[in-house]
Symmetry: C2
């Protein structure tokens, strides 16, 4: 069924003026989205942290979805893992056809929710037609005290390796969206399916994690392409190795039950992506303080193992034996 | 002919490490492109100006082109028109297939040239596969003294309206690329065709224009969607009108000759896009100073008319009679 022609928004001005301007929340530097550039006046003593990520229909999301919340969330996840709090963002929309009001309303509702959740606002962007798939590109800008950014390249031998939240739920949620029949085979209830799918569709990185990272982490990155692969990247960037326990990987009740029933395996879960948790290292003396702070912020943190002088990642089973893991996580090419 | 499989770059790491990292020129905040975020430490007393623009194959450029220089140039053009000088940029690549070394070399050569021309460097970005067309999205970050950004919304009645450079060349260059046969009909030499096409393929906004804007302009924007449409936007944003002379529109020798031969018309040239010049207004007392400064910087500036208390744009012919212009410039929808 074709949308009613009247329902299509013709012209960038209508798209921007009616739907996007409210998302600026009056930010002075956004200039009501009537200009080609945004401006910002950084507070003295702060650095800005900038990241950009695209979500492409058919690659990162299912046709028909409007993953506006997620588009902002995955960028915020990158900022948080560096210790930065999100403040502003730019949105680039590549649209395969003039958007309907219904589409723009869904898009704006998702962004508005994400802005509230993450405390940031729209300041600019670009809107284009494309012969290709719907693409949402966000450039997010965060802030932190000068010279406090936490890189992935600064882990030191002896540091504890830890991760926030639960691993694998979002990856299972993706699998369930690809094939709902899996749910039956896995013996999942509708509620459980909904929870896992929501972890894929609507990840919610925690702002308070940024403060933990800033205060305690020696190195950090977000877990987006699978814990196994991302840990491999962290140790490679730091020029160190890692010794970690597969059994230590934190699982939700649903996912643990699936492992126990033999319909999911831990070694596969760490190769799934989309967790949007924070993988970080810290000096072993800091662990007690970190645990207390995390408890106060209600952020689950789990110790996975330790940074070593070697290279690469050694995953061990419950008996301490090294495992040969074939799965390597997600690469776009 | 398929490219040799060996020639394809598999994995983001190869694309980034081998080709993109040199473009950071060691910028500390880029962290060697090994992290998900870039950081920057704004100088005290400066504001940052941010803009983003995408170039999509088949929409903004011809299949087979690798408009890397242009992708950076069109973003720089936006910054310059606000009085800002470019400093850093992020690059998001959406690639329809794993890129060849030849493709990446062309891309990097274009960006490297643009970086030299515009004095900025790569600090981050994102690389994705897409089922759609090749898309280059750049987010450019410039700087200027705090609170000196020049908006398009601040023109005042009585201000002079002026533009840098020549109008219409790039639009004619696009027409020539769409249909080379036009060149014969227009009686153009190969050299002239080459010059016009280059204005479309490789616009070179002038950094020194940023300083003129900052020192003299009451309002400014770049001319990207056609002089007529962009002037209409400037006066609408400022809540004023404009009275301008069509004959005053600055044309290159080639384009003027085409008009004289009747194969191009001024009223069409102001509706073409892609000029990447600066349209600006200034208090009439400032004109002499602006002219002297522009001469010193070797920037052609031309007076087009005057801002009025009315609304909308009145274009007049040589006899001072208002013209009815049908062409309205470029809109993406």
């Amino acid at each position: 069924m074709n949308a009613n022609a009247d329902d299509r928004l013709e012209g960038e001005a209508a798209i921007i003026g009616e739907f996007l301007v409210p998302l600026t929340q009056g930010d002075e530097g956004a200039a009501g989205l009537t200009d080609d550039c945004a401006s910002l006046s950084p507070r003295p003593g702060t650095d800005l942290v900038v990241t950009t990520d695209s979500l492409i229909e058919g690659v990162h999301f299912f046709p028909g979805d409007v993953p506006a919340f997620k588009a902002l969330a995955v960028n915020v996840s990158d900022l948080i893992a560096k210790g930065a709090l999100p403040e502003r963002y730019l949105l680039t929309l590549a649209l395969p056809e003039p958007p309907t009001r219904a589409f723009m309303s869904r898009l704006v509702a998702g962004l508005a929710q994400a802005q509230r959740e993450f405390g940031c606002r729209l300041i600019g962007g670009d809107t284009d037609r494309t012969p290709g798939p719907l693409t949402l590109t966000i450039t997010a800008i965060g802030a932190l005290p000068s010279r406090t950014i936490v890189r992935r390249s600064t882990a030191r031998p002896g540091d504890i390796i830890a991760v926030t939240g639960m691993i694998g739920d979002a990856g299972l949620g993706l699998a369930l969206r690809q094939d709902r029949a899996c749910a039956l085979a896995a013996g999942l209830s509708e509620l459980q399916v909904g929870e896992l799918v929501a972890r894929f569709d609507r990840p919610v990185p925690r702002l308070a994690s940024a403060l933990l990272v800033r205060e305690f982490a020696s190195a950090a990155m977000d877990v987006s392409d699978g814990l196994a692969k991302d840990l491999t990247r962290l140790v490679a960037a730091s020029g160190v190795g890692a010794d970690v326990s597969l059994d230590a990987v934190p699982l939700s009740n649903t996912t643990r039950a699936m492992c126990e029933r033999g319909v999911a395996r831990r070694e596969d879960l760490i190769a799934l992506g989309e967790d949007y948790e924070v993988l970080f290292t810290l000096h072993s003396d800091e662990w007690v303080g970190l645990e207390a702070a995390a408890r106060e912020q209600k952020i689950p943190v789990t110790r996975l193992g330790q940074i070593t002088r070697g290279a690469g990642v050694t995953w061990r089973n419950a008996q301490g034996r090294p495992l040969q893991l074939s799965a390597i996580g997600w690469d776009h090419f």
